[in-house]
Amino acid sequence: MDFNYTQEQQMLQDSVEKFLDKNYSFETRREIIAARKGISAPAWEAFAELGLLGLPIPPEYGGFGGNAVDTMVVMEAFGRHLVVEPYLPTVVLGASAITLGGTEAQRRILLPSVVDGSMKLAFAHWEPGSRYSLSEVGTTARQEGGFWVINGRKSVVLHGAIADLLIVSARTSGQPGDAHGISLFFVNPTEPGVAGRDYPTYDGMRAVDAEFTDVHVNAESLIGVLDQAYPLIELVVDRGVAALCAEAVGCMEALNAATLEYLKTRQQFGGPIGRFQALQHRMVDMLIQYEQAKSMACLAAVRVDSADAGERRRAVSAAKELIGRAGRYVGQQAIQLHGGMGMTDELNVGHYFKRLTAIDATLGDGDHHLSRFAAAEMTAESVPMQPKSRWKQLV
């Protein structure tokens, strides 16, 4: 039982914090968001130099072989500084899919370019109408000659427009809703037949809704085993969830610090507003929510790579559900305690709140993960379901 970061992790934390403090101020971030691409090339280069882009990638492909706790260290710092760079889609989701599912050749070719910063990835899985389901894949891939021909649509693909390579899920057999019959492919966004709309999201990031019309990709573009990508997608998404939980904890920490500072400095009725018990108790509840969230982010990071898939699902979904609630509470109350100032675009408080709101709606919201948690528990306890259960047995 040990809750401390290792010495290496502390050094990692220090170096990320130092870089962001110096080079990723709230004003700089504003400029990055306002520019067309919505990301910062210098920041990405610096991430490569700091070793962040190769953090979870195995050493044989140029990375550092880090674990989910290392990712947690980085994502917490990103949360504190509201970093909008495509780290989650590239390093957490994309690189995980390649590391866990790719062939040796795919890993050798692609992973070193992720590590050095020359390749960005996007994870195109969800579709209009699939909500957060992992198995509602309607996009199809059929074999034609030596090619796979992909048709379908993907929704809210995070940082899809700046990706050098898309990782696209498609149905190679069965029906939407079946866990079996899903496969993963690399798709070069410059291929004929790839189109879509690139738009900003309310939290300062960008996403695309993509359309694939008779897009031809070669046989080597298949990632992992044909028809059997579901467990891979599930694990990749779980790693993403664990990372998002850490980012949310960083956001909450920063929001709590800002709010506490405001309570101590804002003068009303002849003194700081922090002397009022109604506000003090609210602030205490924000602290409690943060501590509980931090505990769950630790649990998710430690369990996400557990060999026991049931244990992994249980921990990751519990964490996402609790952090959804905690983030909402902390975000809403931070605005409330800042009064009118909390409503302004000028102050960073609203931006943390928006990021926390977006995190809840990314990779499965609280309700989705509550259902998944319950399903994992019920399976473990073999409790019969209601006849019209909305839970689906996952693999």
Partner: protein, 398 residues
């Protein structure tokens, strides 16, 4: 970061688990697991078993009879006890007055009282609250006047838990009315059999006799029973509160009660299916379970910080607030789980020995009473509002 127990910790858990398994009397465990009423004899019987093994006071320094366990080991011990259905050790002696005597008591007090606490020879109770001094404890009025080698005590204490069984009471008493009111308070040990002590039951909303009023009328207390210095009682009381917070969150018992909740919700039927499979009920159980998972990690984070030498401070207030909220929700969902069979009110059937007729499932009987009784947990030990004040002041600096 590693959330697994080390091999040594696992071995420790196996050792304490095995001892409890073979030494906890099954009749007592059954009462605890089924929420039956425990007698004084039940508590004392189990405490004596722990005393014989040397495990009655894990929080005490080893030279006074403690175990020398670290915070994680204490957590594992709590967990093993809770899981098996061991009754809680009554806190007033071992966890409350004991550490105060160790830290501030005279040699005579240590030699006389500590062994009797360990062996359960004396049952202690607490005399803090008064009718006019609840959350504002420093406004207490019970007077102790020095007359030669004695103090003469007059006043009234209330919310005195299980005082009907007690041999001794530790009291905060007023020895001075001048200066800062906290500085006029002293810490006095009083024999409950002294002439002038009267214990009157207070029946709580679920119909049970758990708390009392204690009246003192010209009670003579030997001056040797004053702990530490006159006028320092407030400091000792604060020490007592900040000491030994292991288990304050009640995580281990909550985990046991959650298992019970799931077991009965799997047996109760709704529309021909187990209630536990009903999404509406299941969501409530799942959210509670997730909160408890988080609290367990938070508890362990505090415990491991303590093990590394960082003193447990106001973080304990976080554990108290969250732990008591979860305890209350558990009792609420249990009562809800049995539906209309929570209504029959047959207190005589709550004893472990009852052989008469029951109404509804056996497990349903005491659940409503438990729900009503558990409203106390967010009030006692410093209400959750007082805990929030402590956090605001000492962690947040407000």
């Amino acid at each position: 970061m590693d959330l697994n127990y080390t091999p040594e910790e696992q071995a420790f858990r196996a050792e304490v688990g095995a001892f409890i398994h073979s030494n906890l009397p099954p009749d007592i465990a059954r009462k605890v697991l089924e929420h039956r009423r425990l007698s004084k004899e039940d508590y004392v019987r189990w405490q004596k078993i722990l005393f014989e093994r040397g495990w009655i006071a894990p929080g005490w320094p080893p030279e006074y009879g403690g175990t020398g366990w670290n915070a994680v080991q204490k957590h594992l011990f709590d967990e093993a006890c809770a899981e098996a259905g061991a009754p809680p050790v009554i806190a007033f002696g071992v966890n409350m007055v004991g550490p105060v005597i160790i830290a501030f008591g005279s040699t005579w007090q240590k030699e006389h009282y500590l062994p009797r606490i360990l062996s359960s020879e004396d049952w202690w109770c607490q005399g803090y609250s008064e009718p006019g001094a609840g959350s504002d404890l420093a406004s207490l009025k019970t007077r102790a006047e020095r007359r030669g080698e004695h103090y003469i005590v007059n006043g009234q204490k209330t919310w005195n838990t299980l005082g009907q069984y007690a041999d001794m009471i530790f009291c905060l008493v007023r020895t001075s009315n001048t200066g800062k009111r906290q500085e006029g308070i002293s810490f006095l040990l009083i024999d409950m059999r002294s002439p002038g002590v009267t214990v009157r039951p207070i029946i709580t909303l679920e119909g049970e006799h758990e708390v009392n009023e204690v009246w003192f009328e010209n009670v003579e207390v030997p001056a040797d029973n004053l702990v530490g210095e006159v006028g320092r009682g407030w400091t000792y009381a604060k020490f007592l509160l900040s000491h030994e917070r292991s288990g304050i969150a009640g995580v281990s018992r909550c985990k046991r009660e959650l298992r019970f909740l799931k077991r009965i919700a799997a047996q109760e039927q709704k529309d021909g299916c187990p209630l536990l499979g009903d999404p509406r009920f299941r969501d409530k159980v799942s959210r509670l379970e997730i909160d408890l998972m988080a609290l367990e990690i938070t508890d362990l984070r505090v415990a491991s910080a303590e093990r590394e030498g960082r003193a447990p401070g106001p973080e304990a207030s976080i554990l108290k607030i969250k732990g008591t909220e979860i305890q209350q929700t558990l009792t609420e969902l249990m009562m809800e789980a049995v539906g209309p069979y929570a209504l029959p009110f047959l207190p005589e059937s709550w004893s472990g020995e009852w052989l008469g007729e029951r109404v509804g499932p056996e497990y349903a009987g005491p659940l409503a009473a438990r729900y009503f009784n558990h409203r106390k947990v967010t009030i006692y030990g410093g209400s959750n509002e007082i805990q929030r004040n402590i956090i605001a002041q000492h962690i947040l600096g407000l």
